[in-house]
């Protein structure tokens, strides 16, 4: 299999075996997958399908038991922990279902975090973090702590953090799992915009069919293998969906904040 420079991700016959005592669990079975630069991919599958394992390997959080994984044409399947940390820092932007912001640390500092480990100087960190927060529309919340932000806002901070080191891929694990409908669509709008305007490669792992339809390609994982890999013919455009959504949902952010204050 010959890869082109446009292949951001090239996975060749990757297997992952988990061993607990005498029991072997084959989470991935000789799975192969190529993702090109600028693609918007949704990875779907029921729990136990191996999609989380696949995500962990794509995100360089884990290594395959067998097979090769090339990220930006570099074999990362045999790298050590420190090297993988560097690869994550440089090439992977994570967005998690539960936001995973560092608590009691301002939005701005959360966004600065990846640059801290990349060795970017203080002033430059500051400038780029503010820029990334502006991209996701949170310029006015730089000083807020995560607990002072709504779910949607927290997820946007997480996205800004993912963007700030100009990664090769944005890897989002159930990014809308903890969000209401409108906020979810708003999130997808940002993903689609970044994918369109910056040619950013976006990979979303989800079990929601609705969300997968915002992607241009949907990969179904079952029993550690790819069950289907299809182009989305009737793709949702988030900005259009937003216009059709009922207006009353627009102030949900504030409602959430009120709830937080009450609790």
């Amino acid at each position: 299999m010959e890869g082109s420079s446009e292949d951001v991700i090239r996975i060749e016959r990757v297997s992952k075996v988990y061993q607990t005592g005498d029991i072997h669990v084959n989470a991935l079975r000789s799975l192969s997958l190529t993702i090109r630069r600028g693609e918007f991919v949704a990875i779907m599958g029921p729990s136990g399908s191996g999609k989380s394992t696949l995500m962990n390997i794509i995100g360089c959080l884990d290594r395959p038991t067998r097979g090769k994984y090339y990220l930006e044409n570099v074999d990362v399947s045999t790298m050590g922990k420190a090297q993988l940390a560097d690869v994550r820092n440089k090439h992977v932007g994570f967005v998690f279902q539960s936001f995973n912001l560092v608590t009691r640390t301002s939005a701005l500092e959360n966004v600065e975090l990846p640059m801290l480990y990349a060795g970017v100087s203080g002033a430059e960190r500051h400038r780029r973090a503010r820029e990334a927060l502006a991209t996701v529309g949170l310029s006015d919340r730089e000083r807020n702590m995560p607990s002072q932000l709504s779910g949607g806002q927290q997820q946007r901070v997480a996205l800004a953090r993912a963007l700030v080191n100009n990664p090769s891929i944005i890897l989002a694990d159930e990014p809308t799992g903890a969000l209401d409908t409108r906020t979810s669509v708003e999130m997808m709008e940002i993903f689609q915009r970044l994918n369109h305007e910056r040619k950013l490669t976006v990979i979303i792992v989800t079990h929601e069919l609705d969300i997968s339809l915002y992607a241009e390609r949907v990969i179904q994982v079952r029993d550690g293998k790819i069950a289907s890999d299809e182009h989305v013919s009737n793709r949702y455009v988030a900005s259009e969906v937003l216009e059709r959504l009922p207006v009353y949902a627009a102030d949900l952010d504030e409602t959430e904040e009120t709830e937080k204050e009450l609790s």
Binding site: L61, A82, V102, L116, Y117
Partner: protein, 406 residues
């Protein structure tokens, strides 16, 4: 990833749990404080002993009849009356490094003046006593060689004795009774202060011949001990050697036989005293050091709790690209900041305590640079040693597991 950024994160993490950090630091504060206080007090005691021995005269030696080491059987010093007046004269005349020598007899006696009385250890010496002890009279004069030859009943009082018997009145020229004999007070010695808790001024000096002939029940020619002063403190070892050779020769002791006398060097006594306080200092310091270790265990404990609590944060940091070594460095920095801050505060506390104790005991206050360096070194070392395991534990976390941690 620069150290300043790591330090900032560490300080913020510690200030987030102020109470917890303060209590953890307290262990180190007490440990370092105790070490500094103990070592300073020990060194103060040491320098005090040094000063006191110097005040007695570090160029002094004593010759004591008898030998503790004779054939392994202790005869007790002074058991044999082998030292004669001629020996003392010969020592001064024939050993060139000897400045002066005198017999030194002791007798206890009750001194009575009017309705006042005072018990004292009399010293019987020749007229060179002020020269040997470097101890002049401040009032009146010391007795002369003629007084010694004539075994005259003259007495020179120590400051304390003069005060007890005469109060503020001038004792010189007065007559006092010593064991029912009348003595004339001819001088008062300069104030010396106390050594090892013993008041040196609580004494009185009379001619040694007077002690031999008038105050001892059986009149003997024994001179008790001999006190010798060397020309300089450095010469004491040489003096000791030469006096030993001279006395062996005079006492006709053949090669291989043990001495029938012992020469004691005050410098040796000083060295023994210093050694004793060094051991004391070490002992106290190590006991205090134990509390420092206990403080270190406290740090380890709290860091382990902190690592568990912040598992998710560690996962996040790893996911966005923190190498395990950065995580380790960060937690290590936190424990070192804790222990160093505790060390600095402990130093202030311990130094203050040492100064207060020194002031109370009127010792020289010594918070040495060495103690400070040791305290700083130790607290950093403790931070690293006890912080390493928790930091290592944090660094070894699997990012996937850590991110999932609730």
């Amino acid at each position: 990833m620069n150290l300043w950024a790591i330090l900032k994160i560490a300080i913020r993490a510690l200030t987030r749990n102020k109470m917890r950090s303060a209590l953890t630091m307290l262990g180190i504060i007490i440990g370092v404080g105790a070490v500094i206080a103990m070592v300073s007090i020990g060194q103060g005691a040491q320098s005090m002993i040094q000063t006191q021995i110097n005040s007695m005269g570090s160029n002094m030696l004593f010759v004591v009849p008898g030998n503790v080491r004779a054939n392994g059987v202790s005869q007790g010093l002074g058991a044999a009356a082998t030292l004669t007046e001629d020996d003392v004269v010969a020592i001064e005349r024939e050993v060139p490094t000897v400045l002066a020598a005198s017999p030194s007899l002791r007798a206890s006696a009750q001194l009575v003046f009017g309705n006042q009385n005072w018990n004292v250890q009399l010293v019987g010496a020749n007229e060179k006593f002020p020269k040997i002890r470097n101890w002049p009279t401040v009032n009146g004069a010391f007795y002369t060689a003629a007084d010694v030859r004539g075994a005259e009943r003259v007495i020179v009082l120590g400051h304390t004795v003069a005060e007890k018997l005469f109060g503020t009145a001038d004792p010189v020229g007065e007559s006092i009774r010593v064991r029912n004999l009348s003595f004339r007070v001819i001088g008062v010695l300069e104030t010396k202060g106390s050594t090892f808790g013993q008041d040196q001024d609580d004494t009185a000096v009379v001619p040694f011949t007077t002690v031999q002939k008038k105050l001892q029940a059986r009149g003997t020619n024994s001179v008790g001990q001999a006190m010798i002063s060397a020309v300089s403190p450095d010469a004491t070892t040489l003096v000791q050697q030469q006096v030993e050779d001279l006395l062996r020769q005079r006492h006709r002791i053949v090669e291989g036989e043990p001495d029938d006398f012992t020469v004691r060097n005050l410098a040796d006594v000083a060295a023994a005293g210093v050694q004793l306080t060094t051991i004391m200092t070490l002992l106290l310091g190590s006991i205090a050091g134990i509390s420092l270790i206990v403080g270190g265990i406290g740090i380890m404990n709290i860091m382990l709790v902190s690592v568990t609590e912040r598992t998710r944060e560690i996962g996040i940091r790893m996911a966005v690209g923190a190498r395990p070594s950065y995580i380790r460095l960060q937690f290590l920095t936190e424990s070192v900041v804790l222990s160093l801050a505790g060390g600095a505060l402990g130093m202030i506390g311990g130094g203050g305590a040492a100064a207060a104790i020194a002031w109370y005991l009127k010792w020289p206050s010594l918070v040495s640079g060495l103690a400070v360096a040791i305290a700083f070194g130790f607290s950093t070392g403790i931070g690293i040693f006890f912080g390493y395991y928790p930091a290592h534990k944090a660094a070894a976390l699997d990012p996937i597991e850590a991110l999932r941690y609730e």
